[in-house]
């Protein structure tokens, strides 16, 4: 039987752990709000960028010059993959889930004989992938939103991607990020960035964001300086916006996942405290009963 003192210490330590987890939950909740605001704030730009892109796409005719970034290289040998994870742990299965998916996909790509290059964003992903795939990692970023704003990081990554693509460094570039579905649910999402995928059937969410703004009659645009140059400038910018969106989504996911994880931890700690308190009280009572028995039997013996 554990001694009363041990139990008391145990309860004390669980209580302080609970304090920490509940504080972390609060912090995550307030950071989540900010992250969500950042996602909201980035939407107008992305929406208008989409509108411009589709206006451009509509203006293009068969036989026009198409930049490499839309046309593709016509091959599929080298893949560039951007993996976005968080810098810190204690956010449930977010990072391990991400890394598991990436690993599985890397294995199947390797089985197909494709060469892979990795860019890691976030300390966790880099640490988890480094042992197996260290030689594939060509670049790593961390402290997104601390030393550098998310947009700066997005710019750095997208510029690198564009430059490498022009130099023939890879054939297909894509990004893995955690899509923020709700506070309790984040989804590992794979999105192709380069070559720019043809406008597919819009996803549910995009219908809500993109189409409710205003449905407009199709208009013919003029371009200045000319279509080619505008497109040449627009494409890298669009890439940046996509990366930026992925970074923000992942940021919100991280806080959401942490909030849920810490909420669970707090609840578990509470349960544990209840159990321990019960044991503590039972033990205390047992001791008292024992002592009473001793006293009584001692008195009877006289």
């Amino acid at each position: 039987m554990p001694s009363l003192k041990d139990l008391k210490n145990r309860i004390g330590s669980v209580k302080s752990t609970q304090k920490i987890t509940s504080a972390m939950k609060m912090v995550a909740a307030s950071k989540l709000r900010r992250a969500q605001e950042a996602v909201e704030a980035s939407r107008p730009y992305a929406e208008r960028m989409d509108r411009m892109m589709s206006a451009m796409a509509a203006a293009f005719e068969e036989g026009d010059y198409t930049p490499k970034m839309i046309r593709g290289t016509g091959e599929d040998k080298v893949r560039l993959i951007v993996v976005i994870t968080s810098d810190r742990g204690l956010c449930g299965g977010l990072n391990s889930g991400m890394v598991r998916t990436v690993r599985r996909d890397l294995q199947s790509l390797a089985a197909d004989g494709k060469e892979v290059k990795l860019i890691c964003v976030g300390r966790k992903g880099r640490d988890l992938l480094r042992r197996e795939y260290g030689s594939l990692i060509i670049d790593a970023h961390e402290d997104v939103g601390k030393t550098q704003s998310a947009y700066e990081v997005a710019t750095t990554i997208s510029e690198k991607m564009a430059r490498m693509y022009e130099d023939g460094g890879y054939d297909i570039g894509s990004v893995y990020y955690s899509k923020f579905k709700s506070v309790i649910s984040q989804e590992v999402t794979l999105q192709q960035l380069v070559p720019v995928p043809p406008p597919a059937v819009p996803e549910e969410e995009e219908v809500i964001i993109g189409r409710t703004v205003q449905e407009e009659p199709k208009v013919e645009y003029e371009f200045e300086p000319d279509q080619e140059q505008v497109l040449a400038a627009l494409l890298p910018r669009n890439l940046t916006v996509q990366v930026y969106r992925a970074l923000l989504e992942s940021g919100a996911s991280e806080q959401g996942a942490r909030m849920t994880a810490m909420d669970n931890a707090t609840r578990n700690a509470g349960e544990m405290i209840n159990n321990l308190t019960l044991t503590y009280n039972r033990t205390r009572q047992a001791y008292i009963t024992n002592e009473l028995i001793e006293i009584i039997s001692g008195a009877e013996a006289l």
Partner: protein
């Protein structure tokens, strides 16, 4: 009173301005141009420079932008920029210092990509400094913008 158009200025981090204006002057890739309501639909690039908003015949706001795109339609003028700041909020000394620093960067660049990046920064810094020199004085009309534009690189 003249017809107005919806003017929007958007940076990746937020919607900076969304308000009606009589005319907007934009630093396009091929030179400054003014947009009035009923303009022919067009998409252009934007160079580092100053956007001027006109209302009732006067300039109501001058905003320095670092480059991006404009989409003009019959009733609307949307400018997508990397970052924007009101001209009167630019620190003149810092702008001047930036020009000097970036000039050095261009000279110090060791390879082509570095030099290109430094030159792009220098161009922005020069345009910013010019903007302060030309319009840095106090403005006649206080602005009525809904969201005060701030430096695009603000942290989250």
């Amino acid at each position: 009173m003249a017809e107005r158009l919806e003017f929007e200025l958007v940076s990746p981090e937020q919607l900076l301005v969304s308000q009606p204006a009589e005319m907007v002057v934009i630093p396009g890739g091929e030179g400054y141009y003014g947009v009035l309501a009923g303009h022919i639909p067009m998409i252009t690039t934007v160079k580092p420079g100053v956007i001027e908003m006109y209302n009732e015949g006067h300039v109501t706001d001058r905003i320095f932008v670092t480059g991006g795109f404009t989409e003009v339609s019959q009733t609307r003028c949307t400018v997508l920029v990397d970052s924007a700041v009101k001209v009167r909020q630019i620190d003149r000394e810092k702008a001047e210092q930036d020009v000097r620093n970036f000039k050095e960067d261009v000279e110090d660049a060791t390879n082509e990509t570095e030099r290109e990046a430094a030159e792009a920064r220098l161009e922005i810094a020069r345009a910013r400094f010019e903007a302060v020199v030309r319009f840095g004085g106090p403005q006649q009309t206080p602005s009525g913008s809904t969201a005060p534009p701030s430096a695009g690189g603000s942290s989250h």
